[in-house]
Assembly symmetry: C2
Homo-oligomer: 150 residues x 2
DNA sequence: GCAAGATAGTTTCCTAGTAGACAAAATTGC
DNA sequence: GCAATTTTGTCTACTAGGAAACTATCTTGC
């Protein structure tokens, strides 16, 4: 994708490996995320945590971790950090004393709002690599791969 | 994808984010890799290093790192470990005393051979989630996204 | 009702991977 | 030809994320 050095390297069977292609694509996508939103001091994983809490007020920490494929231990650390930063509030639900429910604070909502435009720009930049139809199809296929509803 | 807990969580805008879907898919794919090949004591990244060296004998370490989107520092560590393990040999090319060329040892080739069947099984398991045509299309789209030749 | 089993979050330790700095060697620009 | 700049691999310090162990709480099976 840049320069001729890369084009001289034969991928062999790896070039036909979905896992490999997914890995490279993910790295590429995250690189673009950091490029466009890195100044806002938030990593992709943290952003997805905030977004999901916003979309699902009072979601339980473990449920969130599972949905985002983040390990519980790490989710604890992330949430604690975001609580300390004032973005997230935590509470213990009455019906399950083991759990933690999460909600966004005003600052959390403001953070998300601040990231909206750069995030959309990040997403739009996908169209420099794929057409509108191809992008839609890629998303559809990935959702199917993941077993997510359309 | 398992249980009803996950289905109750709304993804919102994230569900339409290519980067997010790529991330989850990559995690999923790697999980399957570890499930099928974890016993062989090799991680996806290491496997891809060995494969690419096999496919490109005498490839330079930095070229390899760039192709696999692995940072130079980490590539050094990985290659040193594999050299210590007897899988990879290193040499300094005559025309560039700064560089390191890599080649597979007999043991390296044997390692790859031992991983062939489980790797192919790992790839084949993609067909439990996508059809033949969908899998081919997904790969095509990812390659296009990455700017790789077909 | 109660013990056994499972779950939820936490803490600590560990690892995979990165950033930054550096020296040696190659390349570039004049 | 030569100084300035860039490249290549290495090492060290750091970080993002996971594994394992643990406690408190809930659920299940009898």
């Amino acid at each position: 994708m840049t320069g001729s050095v890369r084009d001289d390297v034969a991928l062999g069977a790896l070039g036909e490996s979905l896992g490999f292609l997914l890995r490279l694509s993910q790295l590429e996508s995250f690189r673009d995320f950091y490029h466009g939103l890195g100044d806002l001091g938030m990593r992709p994983g943290e952003f997805s945590v905030l977004m999901l809490i916003a979309e699902n007020p009072r979601i339980r920490q473990g449920v969130l971790a599972k949905k985002l494929m983040i390990k519980r231990a790490h989710m604890t650390k992330m949430v604690q950090a975001m609580e300390a930063e004032g973005l997230v509030g935590r509470s213990v639900p009455e019906d399950d004393k083991r759990s933690i429910e999460l909600h966004l604070t005003k600052a959390g909502h403001a953070r998300i709002a601040a990231m909206r435009t750069p995030f959309e720009a990040h997403e739009a930049r996908n169209l420099t690599r794929l057409s509108d139809a191809e992008l839609a199809e890629a998303k559809r296929l990935l959702k199917k791969y993941l077993g997510l509803p359309e």
